[in-house]
């Protein structure tokens, strides 16, 4: 479990100097065959990650975050699944591997932390065994070495009395403690790439920050690349180097964290932003703060997938779908929207909404223009995200 240096001596296939990127994903498409037809869960996602960096993947429930992580890792079931695109891990294409070859990577080179610690651990196995089994399998450790390492791992994830906990069963521990065990399992063999799939969604708010801090600390110490999946922009705000926002299986906006927060372009990102759960919200709240429902992935809407819910929608949005393109001002900032935040069209809508709101609250001060509908007639313009229910 020694910390490896980012520069390995491996020759790169392309012949470029330096080490290959830890992870490069190109145009992943994942479809499931369902009773209703083909469901496109991931629709052309590309991304890349270096060691020691964290990429936040943010999106509503059902946007394809878990399927994306599993597609990259190769963990999806083979039946009823159709996958294309490239996954290049340390310069090597891995998307065509068979399970035997994948097993060399799983748990050893790349590991995953699951959403719900209540169900991610085997209820009938002692947690010690759940940690040592991958050490024994991947690193061929002896029984006693594996035990020592497991206890050290339990200590590293800050579980009190690690020797005693080694022979506990999962049901004897709290949710937060179990998630620490899940993290210990993932870290066991010293992976280079860590997927954390909503690691705190199922936990109490008070425990969430502790677990996220623990993850960040381990990621730094072990110099891992981490893909931190969440539906909560607030979770990745201070913890990711870069953020990719997902909607309906696509990345709709991607930028370094600070840039994303200062200059978000996508109306969907804006909606997500206003939906960041407050500390005062009940724990376990699933994201439901954006008006409307996520699109049906079997029959996606024509044009921009967000158009049925977008407050700034224009006729063009129903006809064409925007592609992910770099912002003219900052090439590292990508977004897929015809009328990004700050464009004249969105500003006009924003003003109109503000005017309507004003009229609704104090109609006597504003004379209703003849051509705009009054609030009583139910505005055809959807309420802006700041106004949606669930706030």
């Amino acid at each position: 479990m020694s910390v490896q240096t980012p520069i390995s001596g491996l020759p790169t296939p392309s012949g470029t100097p330096g080490a290959p990127k830890l992870l490069e994903v190109r145009d992943i498409v994942t479809r499931f065959t369902t009773d209703r037809g083909s469901l496109t869960a991931v629709n052309g996602v590309s991304l890349s990650l270096e060691r020691g960096r964290t990429l936040g993947v943010v999106g509503e429930s059902g946007s394809g975050k878990s399927v994306l992580s599993r597609s990259i890792m190769g963990l999806l079931p083979r039946s009823n699944t159709e996958r294309s695109g490239q996954v290049i891990f340390e310069g090597k294409e891995i998307s065509g591997l068979n399970d035997t070859e994948y097993r060399e990577l799983w748990g050893d080179e790349m590991a995953m932390i699951f959403q719900d610690p209540m169900t991610a651990l085997n209820p009938v196995m002692k947690i010690g065994l759940q940690i040592t089994e991958s050490l024994r399998f991947h690193l061929n450790m002896s029984k006693s070495d594996a035990k020592d390492t497991a206890v050290a791992l339990l200590k590293a994830v800050k579980i009190p009395e690690p020797e005693k906990r080694f022979s506990s069963y999962p049901h004897e521990m709290s949710g937060g403690m179990r998630q620490r065990v899940v993290i210990a399992v993932a870290l066991a063999c010293g992976p280079k790439l860590l997927f954390a799939d909503e690691p705190t969604t199922a936990l109490d708010v008070t425990v969430q920050a502790q677990i996220l801090d623990l993850l960040a600390e381990q990621q730094r110490e072990r110099y891992m690349g981490m893909i931190l999946v969440t539906h909560d922009l607030g979770v990745v705000a201070g913890r990711a180097d870069e953020i990719a926002v997902m909607y309906a299986g696509q990345i709709v906006e991607q930028a370094p964290t600070a840039l994303l927060f200062s200059e978000m372009k996508m109306p969907y990102t804006e909606a997500l932003m206003s939906a960041i759960p407050k500390l005062t919200d009940a724990s376990h709240t699933r994201l439901a703060a954006i008006g409307g429902r996520p699109p049906d992935l079997v029959n996606p809407p024509k044009g921009c997938a967000f158009s049925p819910r977008c407050p700034y929608v224009q006729p063009r949005c129903h006809e064409e779908s925007p592609t992910l393109t770099p912002s003219p001002t900052a090439p590292e900032h990508l977004f897929a929207c015809f009328y990004p935040i700050g464009s004249p069209e969105t500003e006009e809508v924003r003003l109109r909404i503000a005017a309507q709101r004003l009229m609704a609250t104090a109609p006597e001060f504003v004379a209703a223009p003849a051509n705009t509908p009054t609030p009583a007639q139910q505005s055809p313009v959807p309420a802006p995200p700041e106004q949606t229910e669930g706030m």
Binding site: W106, G107, D108, F114, N122, P123, V124, S134, H171
Partner: protein
Amino acid sequence: MFILKKFGQLLVTVILVTLFASLLLELLPGDPTEVLIPSGSDQQREELRQELKLDQSFAVRYSTWLGNFATGDMGNYYTVSSDRPVSDRLWQSLPVSLLLMFYAQMLALFFAIPLGVITAYRKGTWLDRTSNTAAFAMLAIPNFALGFLLQYYLGVKLGWFKTSGYASPNESPIEHLQYMILPTITLAVGQIAIYMRLLRSDMIATLQQDFILMAKAKGLKSKRILFRHALRPSSLTLLTVAGLNIGTLIGGALIVEVVFALPGMGLMLFEAIGRRQIVAFQSMVAVIAILYILVNFAVDLLYTVLDPRIRNANKS
């Protein structure tokens, strides 16, 4: 406390079962002594009537039997020539039944567990479909038909095994097996099908669980995931049904015992009813009931071994 509760359960069950069984025998018309000693004189008959308390009420007869049974006296088995204690016969036929049950269960589990695991893992493939069809076929064959078929082909034609009779394992282990193999297979075939299907469906549910995906993400081999991670949490239903079956098979393998002329409990019970051996019948039913409850007690203990969460629930 746990033991006490179990003991109370045992007592109540034994009383209920024997009461019900002997009430049924009471309903048979006619004078039992005519069946018991058909050629006996009137005086012998009168004595037997006295001994069996046939002139008194059912309640008296039953409570007398119960008192005797509780002190270990199982009563007599009456034949024309002699009255032999029921226990003699019981000690002869009970081991036969227990061994037959044990072999059949072992054989059934030996095939059903791997098959159930594999068909769940390979759900929907040709292997799954074939074994599914085979399972229904196995269930559809009546026991006696299968018994006769095996007897004819493996016993008579090929001469590999003995077709009827019994030898105890102490006398001759090899012969014992030769006698037992065909009845064992006959009994096990239907069980294999049931056990396999049960395990398969529980296993399919378990394989959907997050912890299985997590085990996969650790890079473990499929064999380890299936047998170390998934089998134990999937086996509670199988255990329950197999436990119930043990009880059923101890006294309920009558057809197989008849076909293979195995002197087991089923045959003995059958005889006891036909010959109106009320006391013997009650005693045998009581022994079977006790065994049944003991087996289920063992199954309860096994639950806690299989699932630690039940262990804690029992403690509190």
